[in-house]
Amino acid sequence: MSFLGGGIFSGMAVTLRNFVGSYFDPDRLTTNDYSWRPEGQLPQSAGEYPREEGEQLSDATTVTNYSRNFPMLLHDGGDNPMDAIRCVACQICERECPPQCIYIEKDYGEDGKFIKRPAVFDIDVSVCMSCQICVEVCPFDAIVMNSQFELSTPNRFDGLLLRREDLLKSNGYYHRIHPEEAAQRDQRMAEEKAAKEAKKKAAAEAAKKKAEEKARAEAEAKAQEETGDKEEEAQ
């Protein structure tokens, strides 16, 4: 403080610099401008907001490539996504979910046999706290985090209960919203699959070998027996 009121003046200099800077320096104008978008176009980025009731952000809308919001279920494409759903209704996520917001029922075919997929898979997003524990515990890479953030609804009960159909998203969509993570996951899955197959192959080969050896041993034994028989006969 060199002179009387110096601290106040230096503070005022800072605010004035920010005042002027906000017109020129984007670093000093940090807030988003939620500007209007053209008629009939879906909101494309975080800065845009639904205008009409029921309007949702387009599927491609994410906040960043890393952000997470609520879980979604993955399927591997095809005409009927339910056939390609990765979830096998093992209920691990339901058990581990900290706020207990997942509800799963197993699917049984007409013959009462368990089909490996969920008949009901509900997530109550009014309870979900986006902690990603379900993603971590899932052994099948079936559940991952979505980043679609606009889920507002006029109905706070059923509107906030996401059903299996709402949650189903294709792997391609996942690649679009979280490219890095999805690529890593796919790579890991491929590796695991390869490892599994290798293991299977190895196991199969081992079994084959074993079987061959057994066969050979048997054959030898048989041969021996036969020769023995023959010898006996000869004697």
Binding site: G7, I8, G11, V63, T64, E96, P98, Q132, I133
Partner: protein, 378 residues
Amino acid sequence: MVAPNYELIEQDGLETSLLEVSMGPHHPSTHGVFRMDVKLDGETVVDLKPVFGYLHRNHEKLAENMSYLANMPFTDRLDYFNSMTNNWAYALAAEELVEIEVPERAEYLRVIMAELTRLVNHVSLVGFFVNDLGALGTPLMYAFREREKILDLFEEASGARMMCNYFRFGGLRCDVPAGWLDRAREVVDQFPKFLDEYEKLLCENEIILSRTQGVGTLSRELAINAGITGPMLRASGVAYDLRKVDAYGIYDRFQFRVPYGEVGDCYDRFMVRMLEMRESVQILKQALDGIPEGEIMGKAPRVFKPKPAEVYGRVEGPKGELGFYLIADGTPKPYRYRVRPPSLINLTVLRDMCLGQKIADAVVILGSIDIVLGEVDR
């Protein structure tokens, strides 16, 4: 300051009574749903009674009915400004239970995250504090401008801005994405520039000086005896920093200093935080330069089922000593789970500091304690 003798006033035949004001639970500057029952003589605080519990959700009971891992996201919500350090304290306690080795890279990333959290907390605290002094949110907006940059980093690393849920027993949930370290370095390099601006705006302002100096003085002895921790303790002249004392994680590898005050008034508490930010920047620079490549997850058991034991893990959170006391009984759930909340314990001395001060000071003192009601009430 000596409070006048109220009995004498009564004897004069003047019917006087003290003005009882219930500040809160919804008051602009109680930092959440906190209440102070204040008795006023004119503008002077004669008595003050803090009332807690409006945000109580029995966090500890919740945790006792949940597996160790599932409780991690709940620790984010204790002190929602510093989810990373909360995670760390919990992970530290749990790792002590089963003795997991944390890989080098994870340790470095933990330090980086914790120090970034400290920057976030201190910078926004200073903003809130000056807001309590009556500034119209300008310092707060500048603080939030910088905080956003750090929260962006958190989002890239963990997926969420505030409820990060990033630490795991034995490491971290995932590695940071490519290029993250460069972006972090950029933010850290820019930060001192912002601190210069901030100091120019605040530290020599005559009004702030006269509002904070000599207000809410906390003596060294009372500070220690009342279990005050964190910047508040250091402002009272005790250079006790768990990063130095416990040297948990890999803090013993970094060069940094611990600033401390002498008077223990609001100005010291404010300045200690300002200076601590510069030290955090130093730590961050060293950590970002020294971080190695490698694994980020140690060999953690697939099912976390510790043997019966008791541990108390504590870290130097931005608000003070954050401790987790865990009792394991051999099941996947903790038998007893206890959080030592620095915000709550720092409030012990609120009454002592406020007596004899003006009501405007009571607000400032509360602001300088730095509480988050999510942690006070749990």
